[in-house]
């Protein structure tokens, strides 16, 4: 069944020194390796200055490190630094596209295609845009195994009214890895733009933005072993150049007079105000950390843990796993429901054993409605997890069944 190592790939996470902590909530936010914390502290302690205009050595040092980190982050996902815009988080990155690209490119009678499994962050901005301009949303259905149909996408694209196809790379509930290259190619052939939400993909599997070919690809730093407060938007240059700025103010200008403003070049045109400098540097260390482990090894490891979790969880009577049946179709997460207990009660009882899982609708209420569920319990995996953590989860679920099981 699973042949890869079942022990953790990396363990130098200070928070894991807490006795007994079983962290299975990396899809919500990842824990931070020591090297990332060190990079954050080192920058703030020894290299801190504002970027872009300083001429003294410390400022030049800060600027150099900031630029180098952007280049490192861009290279990690196969993107160009000039096409790599630093935002607050993935949500802001999607909103940037919605506000800056949207009104010029989507109008009355047009359509936007989403999947039923999108996170609210990749639904609400498009819903708002559609309301504003009089466009419609078309929902790609997910089937019983959590998969979308490219045939349905073709149907949606056939009338030529679709202007944007926005799809998650990896579902944060079902775990499904979507065929994003095919989605992007079909969208482009039909004259539609594409946006891929890579929040659950980037730290867990090889992502090459250039090869995927999406017009926009977004992800977030804090789920990728980096700090909070930094998200990424990779966009195609010709689109970014044609788009007006999103937020305006300092740093994003070339010249400002009493009468008018000319805007800065890419990527700075979209980065108004002081950017998250230390966070960018720390995220550079985070992608270095992942590269050091090897993204293919990371993927193999998490796939093995996921396969083990699927087999162990499915052996529990009354437990239903959501999403694709095979680990190779999934990112490193498993959502499930128990017949006898509500996910919130499951998570509470697991929490007493320091087994940290998420329970709720996972910001995917339309998907929950489709699945006929109010909530699920989700365990998600990272490089520091091992099969021991899955065993702890399964053992703790035994306590839930002991409390709730008998009717």
């Amino acid at each position: 069944m699973t042949t890869a190592s079942h022990t953790a790939l990396a363990l130098d996470f200070p928070i894991l020194e807490q006795e007994g902590l079983v962290y299975l909530d990396s899809a919500a936010t990842s824990q931070k390796p020591r090297v990332v914390l060190d990079a954050l502290e080192d920058f703030l302690a020894h290299h801190n200055a504002n970027v872009h205009r300083g001429v003294y050595p410390l400022a030049i040092d800060a600027d150099t490190r900031f630029s180098a980190a952007r280049a490192q982050i861009a290279a990690f996902v196969g993107a160009e630094p000039a096409e790599t815009i630093i935002t607050k988080n993935a949500t802001e990155a999607i909103n940037l596209v919605r506000y800056s690209w949207g009104p010029q490119n989507v109008g009355a009678g047009d359509a936007i295609v989403l999947t039923e499994a999108e996170h609210h962050s990749n639904i609400v901005p498009w819903q708002q845009l559609c309301e504003e301009v009089g466009a419609e949303l078309r929902w790609l259905e997910v089937d019983d195994e959590g998969m979308i149909s490219l045939g349905q996408l073709d149907e949606f694209l056939a009338d030529g009214r679709v202007k944007m196809v926005a799809v998650t790379h990896c579902s944060n509930v079902l775990g499904t890895i979507n065929p994003v290259e095919e989605v992007v190619a079909r969208a482009r052939a039909a004259g539609a733009a594409s946006l891929i939400d890579g929040s659950q993909a980037v730290p867990h599997m090889a992502v090459n933005v250039d090869a995927i070919g999406a017009d926009f690809y977004v992800w977030t730093g804090h789920k990728a072993y980096g700090p909070t407060g930094i998200g990424l938007l990779h966009g195609r240059r010709e689109l970014l150049e044609a788009m007006p700025p999103f937020l305006t103010g300092g740093d994003m200008i070339k010249t400002v007079s009493f009468e008018a403003t000319t805007f800065n070049e890419l990527p700075f045109k979209f980065e108004a105000g002081t950017p998250p400098i230390a966070e960018t540097v720390a995220l550079g260390a985070a992608v270095d950390f992942i590269s050091g482990l090897g993204i293919d090894r990371v993927r193999a490891h998490e796939e093995a843990i996921t396969a083990y979790a699927l087999s162990q969880l499915q052996a529990i009577p009354g437990l239903t796993v959501q999403g694709p049946p095979l680990a190779q179709q999934r990112g490193g997460l498993v959502s499930f429901t128990l017949d006898c207990a509500h996910p919130h009660d499951v998570a509470e009882i697991l929490g007493r054993d320091q087994v940290c899982v998420r329970a709720g609708h996972h910001c995917t209420q339309p998907l929950m409605k489709k699945l006929g569920l109010g909530a699920t319990t989700r365990a998600s995996f990272a490089v520091h997890n091992s099969t021991d953590d899955v065993d702890a989860l399964v053992g703790s679920l035994g306590n839930v069944i002991e409390i709730f099981g008998e009717s």
Partner: protein, 143 residues
């Protein structure tokens, strides 16, 4: 297993809730959700000419704490005037539950009280003060 939060009476109400199910032509009705865990609860009341609760039914789904709370309070409010129902506070529920409720579970416990009070006053009632998200002022805006 002996468990303080999930004591026997609470599990009993969760598994076999009282006054659950539909009601035809209710006089009063209210629906609300707990966005934290996706709980949904609808309450339906029949009241007599003096605004006294004659019948109560709940519908919805949620965690053990929210469902048991609804079941327990439903037994208590029959024969109560709507005015008195509207004046109930959290102690009505917490006394019935008889357990310590953590800050994150407080909304689960108090959702049933919120929909009941909403049905009584005919408009959406506020969450009880200090119920949940720390950023929201006590007794403040609706979700």
């Amino acid at each position: 297993m002996d468990d303080a939060l999930y004591r026997e009476e609470i599990l009993e109400h969760y598994k076999r809730p009282h006054n659950f199910g539909p009601m035809e032509n209710p006089d009063r009705e209210s629906f609300d959700t707990n966005p934290l865990c996706g709980d949904e609860l609808r309450v339906m009341l029949k009241v007599d000419d003096n605004d006294v609760v004659e019948e109560v039914r709940f519908e919805g789904h949620g965690c053990a704490i929210s469902q048991a709370s609804a079941s327990m309070i439903s037994d208590e409010i029959k024969g109560m005037k709507l005015d008195d129902l509207a004046r109930l506070d959290r102690s009505a529920i917490l006394d019935l539950l008889g357990i310590d409720i953590s800050a994150t579970r407080m909304k689960c416990a108090l959702l049933s009280l919120k929909v009941l009070k909403s049905a009584a006053i005919g408009t959406l009632a506020d969450w009880e003060p200090d119920t949940a998200d720390a950023a929201r002022p006590a007794g403040g805006a609706q979700l």
